[in-house]
């Protein structure tokens, strides 16, 4: 607290606030200040090159009534929920499974990690070609179930996106659950075994409750992360076919950087920010994430 320069040996208080300042400043400049700017820009007309001109609430009226943006918001929510529902059980089960000490499970974990090494752009490029109805995997394997126009059919494209996102992100969450599961004291299982609890009961009454912080951490990252699936969808489908995969960040990008309506795009950004903050606050309150103390809780 004291900023006066005292000899180190006699200083009683903690380290000075200044030490946290570089991180705070850098973060503020590119994350907090932009929040203010984006609100300002949402009340202007700007093509991205000249100077923004005040436009009152025009953008807001348009953003809030536009069916495209409303649809994008709906798709974003749908993508968030669906991604969570698909990825959480999958990563939890896989993570607990590879937490076992058998050698083959450790080996499995090594391979599971592979998608994490590939950039989002590359993953999108891979699946764009892999899912191609003429030259992709499904066509040549002659499996009617797999041989669909995954990315060209408005009904299917959204689910194809959910699948590719899971392919990309399940590895990371598996790793979180693996680390979490390895921390559960064996004594708990021992006691349960003595009490005659079966494997399912042990999973339900020990593994799951013990992993609750990991579930919270993983879910928080997943839910907040789902607002940021821009790159993948951008390269994979470009938001199409039609508007079938035009999620909110994509709607914002297309409005801002392709139609050069930065003001309107800023209004969409604000919606995105508010959604992100509300979600996180809800998760914080709901889970007590900010009261966590230990390393285990954090990771």
């Amino acid at each position: 607290m004291s900023t006066a320069k005292t000899p180190a040996a006699t200083r009683q208080g903690g380290p000075p606030f200044v030490m946290a300042l570089p991180a705070l400043l850098l973060f503020a400049l590119f994350a907090l200040v932009p929040m203010a700017i984006v609100v300002y820009l949402s009340f202007t007309q700007w093509d991205g090159l000249g100077s923004p001109a005040w436009a009152g609430t025009d953008n807001w009226r348009e953003a809030l009534t536009s069916p495209v943006t409303r649809h994008a918001l709906w798709l974003t929510v749908k993508l968030m929920v669906l991604s969570w529902v698909v990825q959480t059980p999958l990563s939890l089960l896989l993570g607990v499974f590879v937490a076992g000490r058998q050698r083959y499970r450790a080996l499995l974990a090594v391979f599971y990690f592979v998608p994490l090494l590939i950039s989002t752009a590359a993953i999108a490029v891979i699946f764009k070609n892999l899912l191609d109805p003429n030259f992709g995997l499904g066509a040549a394997l002659n499996l009617p179930l797999l041989n669909q126009n995954w990315l060209g059919d408005p009904q299917l494209a959204f689910y194809a996106v959910v699948f590719v996102i899971a392919w990309q992100f399940v590895p990371f969450h598996t790793l979180l659950y693996q680390a979490g599961a390895r921390q559960i004291p064996a004594s708990l299982y021992e006691a349960a075994s003595i009490d005659g609890a079966g494997r399912l009961a042990q999973f339900w009454h020990i593994t799951l409750p013990q992993l609750r912080y990991t579930v919270v951490t993983s879910s928080t990252l997943m839910v907040v992360g789902s607002l940021t699936y821009f790159d993948l969808v951008f390269v994979l489908t470009g938001g199409g076919p039609g508007y079938a995969t035009r999620i909110l960040p994509l709607d914002m990008y297309i409005t801002g950087f392709q139609s050069n309506e930065m003001g309107l795009a800023s209004a969409i950004s604000v919606v995105l920010v508010v959604a992100g903050l509300l979600l996180s606050l809800a998760l914080l309150r709901f889970s007590g994430f900010n009261r966590m103390r230990s390393q285990q809780a954090g990771m």
Binding site: A8, A9, G13, G14, P15, P16, P22, A23, L24, L26, F27, L29, F30, A31, M35, I37, L93, L94, F97, G100, Q102, L108, F111, Y112, F113, V114, P115, S119, T120, A121, A122, V125, I126, F135, L137, A140, L141, P171, Q183, A186, S187, L188, E190, S193, T220, F230, V235, P249, M252, Y253, S269, G276, L277, F289, N290, M292, S294, Q295, A297, G298
Partner: protein, 300 residues
């Protein structure tokens, strides 16, 4: 906030459970067979590896070979011509750009985050607790939502279309999670160690460099890998903050390459493989570090 406390121990103490972790019991539990799990695990392995395998074999095919071969068969006449094509399209230049951006942003993130994490853990002031809350909330800010104002700021600062324009916001967005992970780790360093150093007359900088830094090595390795991967793979900031081909980083290169060579799928996939190789090499070398880093400090 005792240094050695962590959630499971605390929980087992509040429950009527045995306090000792018996080694035989642990082994017995961990080595049970689980056929259903094995089946599921194998299925996911197939889902993960088939696309990867497909990319590898296809990248070795000739353009003609691609259209008439079974996509999963080994190429009849494997060729490296696709890799040659990618290489000749300026690959090394983009590789260098990516390396510069990644190293710059990661070092910057680590330096400022470590200082902040140390101050937050050791500090007592209200301002520092407030700073920690800022970072916690910061996790919630979607990077996408800031691209227009970040673009605005970068353009105003005359940094548009430079590598620095990618480094600064990339580092800024890596800070919150990095600080939080480091804080969680630093909290487990016992107070007594600091006290004994303080008794020897050490100030905060010496404690930070000679005690906190070496002891948090595993956490630092974890966040380094995590942050570096994120920056290396970053697409959006390069997309909106740079323009000229010679400022491209690898993900942008892969994207533009597939736009240019739309029908030459083997070449596109060769670009994918080449752009992934550096990370794959690091993973092979540093896997133990990464897994160890993620799990280190749990069960001292």
């Amino acid at each position: 906030m005792s240094a050695l406390s962590h959630a499971p121990t605390t929980d087992s103490q509040t429950r009527p459970a045995p306090m000792t972790a018996g080694t035989p019991g642990r082994l017995a539990r961990l080595r049970r067979t689980n056929p259903l799990g094995a089946l599921g695990g194998a299925l996911w392995l197939v889902i993960v590896l088939v696309p990867v395998y497909w990319v590898l074999v296809t990248s070795l095919r000739t353009r003609e070979g691609f259209f008439d071969a079974n996509p999963l068969a080994l190429p009849t006449s494997p060729t490296l011509a696709n890799y040659r094509l990618v290489w000749d399209n300026g690959f090394t230049h983009y590789l260098l750009n990516s390396a510069l951006v990644t190293v710059g942003a990661t070092l910057l993130t680590l330096a400022v985050s470590f200082l902040a994490a140390y101050a937050i853990v050791r500090g007592t002031s209200r301002a520092l607790r407030w700073a920690f809350s800022v970072f916690l909330l910061g996790l919630a800010i979607p990077l996408q939502a800031t691209i227009i104002p970040v673009y605005y700021l970068i353009a105003k600062a005359q940094m548009y279309d430079t590598l620095l324009a990618i480094v600064l916001p990339s580092a800024a967005f890596a800070i919150p999670l990095t600080v939080i992970i480091l804080v969680n780790f630093l909290r487990d360093i016992p107070d007594e160690l600091y006290e004994s150093m303080r008794a020897d007359g050490a100030g905060h900088w010496r404690m930070l460099l000679n005690l906190a830094l070496p002891l948090s090595r595993p956490a630092l390795i974890t966040v380094t890998i995590y942050d570096a991967l994120n920056v290396w793979n970053g697409f959006l900031f390069p997309l909106i903050l740079t323009q000229s081909p010679d400022k491209r980083v690898l993900p942008l290169f892969v994207w533009s390459f597939q736009g240019e060579f739309t029908i030459n799928i083997p070449a596109i996939l060769a670009a994918v493989v080449l752009s992934t190789l550096p990370i794959l090499a690091l993973y092979v070398l540093g896997r133990r570090q990464l897994i160890g880093g993620l799990t280190a400090g749990f069960g001292k």
